[in-house]
Amino acid sequence: MLETATYNTMSNRVVITGLGIAAPNGVGIPAFTHAIKTGTSGIRHDPQLAELQFSCQIAGKPDVPEALQLQYLDPLELRNFNSNGILYGLIAGIDAWKDAGLKITEGNDPDWDSGVIFGAGSSGLDKLREAIYKVDALQVRRLGSTVVPQTMASGISAWLGGKLGLGNQVSTNSSACTTGAESLLMAFDRIKNGQATRMLAGSTSDAGPYIWGGFDALKVCTYKHNDCPEKGSRPMSASASGFVPGSGAGAFLLESLESALERGATIYAEVLGGHVNSGGQRGDGTMTAPNSMAVQRCITQAMAQAGVTGMDIDAINGHLTATGKDSLEIENWSKALGRAGKDFPYINALKGMVGHCLSGAGSIELVASVLQLNEGFLFPNINCEDLHPEISAIIDDACVPRELINVNLNIIAKASFGFGDVNACVILKKYING
């Protein structure tokens, strides 16, 4: 007999009860927390990029030695495994699930009330490259069984769904650098509307020359810091000269407040709401540049859905990539919040430490935002000694912490913007009983 769950048709409150991360400057929540508090960079010189004559020869990659891989994949699964994006996603996703105190589903019945929406920009590019070489060499029959699960766009959600035995929606979203923030909001909607009790959300990005090459060719990456990698990623700095390519994954377990309280779970933060939109590549928006009207609208709509005003925002975690668009982003935040100068909230950018982790960026930065709310701190903006004058013309210098600040925060706004002129903004609140 089929059991049908009865879901609450009311609008559920949604909280975050688990976190996981595989970032260039820390794999696992304790290592990552330490790294962001101490302003530790994960950007390194990349010999492969140098050999391939990239303009930008520095990058951010999570450190995942084989012993760590074996904690997430068995030796058979690791045979012919060559999809680092899926690996990062598995580490972050499974960690978030366990961090929430949840057990891996045993037996024949999946967990009908739990699902996963885990985003990716591409999947298994290195694996795909291997496969393409074999196909072109008339060796299609020698591909074996491993190509499809490692290269299908939904690879990461499929792997996580199987590892954890999830029986609710199992899907992958993709919206360029907005992907991670979008995944959280899609999971939020599903729980809020009563279609699931728990959703694992997050996003991942492949590492390596085949994902980064296109950006190198677009001339959006810095080529001025090949001999000083840790100084290369400089969000909001006057000497910023393009982004540093990064990779990795962040994950969060979202859950109805009711379920979290029932389980006695640790609550990291409440998701008050958010908004996703697009500038339609109209106005000043293009495939690669944001429409400012849409950015401002995304932020104001997110605040409206969350039931807060610009004055309630204690801190912003920006998209801030270290390209020429950083000052425009600050202007957009300032207009959307109706705040400027000394009245502007704190703002920080994680990309100074990890680079631009592309489709993994939003989720990695959201994990950092949630940690800040939960523990009451603001991580330092590294490589921003020389705040860009166009930025200091809008907001006070003190709004941009260069050192760790221990401060109790109530509400953080986090936004991500992506190619295709797409935007997402999430409003997070510290959870205090009730």
Binding site: P75, L76, R79, R142, G144, S145, T146
Partner: protein, 82 residues
């Protein structure tokens, strides 16, 4: 090649894919790859590729379809090596 040697070599080949260790320990001519060794059906193509590599043979599509147990695998390998 005698049967015992061939079965022992097949045992080494299927070991990484076999989920039932007891069945693997008792592998014999009548062992079925999926039902006894609990090899994931998608991994059968990997077993076949490993067999091809080990014996330097090419197994055609028709033979592949038949190669679902130890007995069939032995017959196919022996016929290709003959």
């Amino acid at each position: 090649m005698d049967k015992e040697t061939l079965i022992a070599e097949l045992k080494t080949i299927v070991k990484p894919y076999a989920k039932d260790e007891a069945a693997l320990a008792n592998i014999n001519e009548n062992t079925d790859f999926i039902n006894d060794l609990k090899i994931n059906s998608a991994n059968l193509v990997d077993v076949i590729l490993d067999v091809e590599e080990k014996y330097n043979i090419v197994i055609d599509n028709e033979s592949m379809e038949k190669m679902v147990n130890v007995k069939a695998a032995m017959e196919i390998i022996e016929s290709k090596l003959a």
